[in-house]
């Protein structure tokens, strides 16, 4: 079974880490939704530098968190997208839709 977490390291600073796949996806979805709803920060930054490996599930998580942030009226940016996620995003035409920050 793969391991993964999403945590708020400082106000508005979210970090995804571990392996994003079909086994870890459902729980990450719930944890992320709770964090975004509970965060007091106006804008949110999601750091993906600690993601070890990701399938399409990782991209679906990013989209879900973008919807959460929009619903909560908060801005969300995404940083340090790993190569495997970038490749999947490219093939599925998502690169232009993700709020990526260098």
């Amino acid at each position: 079974m793969s391991q993964a977490t999403i945590s708020e390291r400082a106000a508005g600073q979210l970090q995804l880490s571990g392996v994003l796949d079909y086994s870890t996806g459902p729980l990450l979805r719930e944890q992320g939704a709770r964090l975004i709803a509970a965060s007091s920060a106006k804008s949110l930054a999601l750091d993906c530098s600690a993601v070890e490996k990701s399938s399409s599930v990782g991209l679906a998580l990013l989209l879900a968190f973008m919807r959460d942030a929009r619903k909560a009226g908060r801005e969300l940016t995404i940083s340090a997208l790993p190569d495997d996620m970038r490749e999947i995003a490219q093939v599925s035409g998502l690169l232009e839709l993700l709020p990526l920050q260098a």
């Binding site: 079909y22 996806g25 035409g93």
Partner: protein, 269 residues
């Protein structure tokens, strides 16, 4: 999957008999990781049987089939089930569920094999359909699709679970030139961008030669020849001597008309 094994798939001394007839007799085939490998030969030479041996739907009469160094004939039923999840298969017929629409056809493996919430299943289905250019066709039924579109939907379904290995059984049969060009482009794109190991079983020389990094020609229960398409073009063997150019992409757009992608995924902003 580990990257230790240079070959994603290895057949070692594989024999397969059907009744008294020998379909394969001590065949050795090695499929390099991350490449497109063509398996070619005349109809009825056992190419589909070969795919079924790799997918562990059939057991060899003798010899070994290894995927990532793991011997398939030795695996338990549960282990085989897990192994198959890492392999996507595009069947010759397309084999879509005729009573399910395009969306549900692609969602099917996600519903069977994962516990993802509905919104994430939708994201992944839209991503896969976008990749094959058919997101706009999501609520069509299979009988409303052209042959080429059916095959692209089947491809979206085959990659729904992000397989490491994709097996294509005669992907070009019955396709018009534009559909063939689209398929060739997609197979190559998925292979290169996602690091997938692709095995294309086909008797269409031109398309397979245009896409494959390496080709095995099988016939008479043997491997008749192997090499890069360029090497095979020099071959004296009459069965493998004639290769043609692949048909390029035409003016027909790749994407079926669709809603705005951003809105479709994220809602109206």
């Amino acid at each position: 999957m580990s990257a230790e094994h240079e070959y994603a798939i290895e057949l070692q001394g594989v024999s397969f008999q059907r009744g008294a007839r020998s379909i394969f007799d001590k065949v050795d085939i090695r499929i390099p990781r991350g490449k497109v490998t063509g398996i070619m030969g005349p109809s009825g030479c056992g190419k589909t049987t070969l795919l079924r041996l790799i997918a562990a739907e059939l057991r060899p009469s003798a010899g070994d089939v290894r995927v990532d160094g793991v011997s398939l004939p030795k695996l338990s039923r549960d282990e085989l089930f897990d192994m198959r999840k890492q392999m996507g298969v595009l069947f010759q017929s397309g084999a879509l569920f005729t009573d399910l629409d395009v969306f549900e056809n692609v969602a099917f493996p996600l519903r069977v094999h994962t516990k993802l919430p509905e919104e994430m299943i939708r994201d992944i289905v839209l991503m896969k359909l976008q990749a094959v250019g058919l997101r706009g066709a999501l609520d069509l039924m299979p009988d409303e699709l052209s042959g080429g579109m059916k095959r692209r939907v089947a491809l979206a379904r085959a990659i729904a679970l992000d397989p490491q290995i994709l097996l294509y059984d005669e992907p070009f049969v019955g396709q018009d030139p534009i559909a063939m060009g689209v398929l060739v482009r997609l197979i190559r794109l998925l292979n290169d961008a996602l690091g997938i190991t692709s095995v294309v079983v086909s008797h269409d020389l031109a398309e397979t030669a245009s896409i494959a990094d390496y080709i095995y020609v099988v016939g008479d229960a043997q491997v008749l020849g192997q090499g890069t398409p360029a090497e095979l073009m020099e071959s004296d063997n009459p069965r493998i001597r004639q290769f043609m150019k692949g048909i390029p992409d035409g003016p027909v757009p790749f994407h079926f008309p669709a809603l705005d992608y951003r809105e479709d995924l994220l809602g109206r902003g």
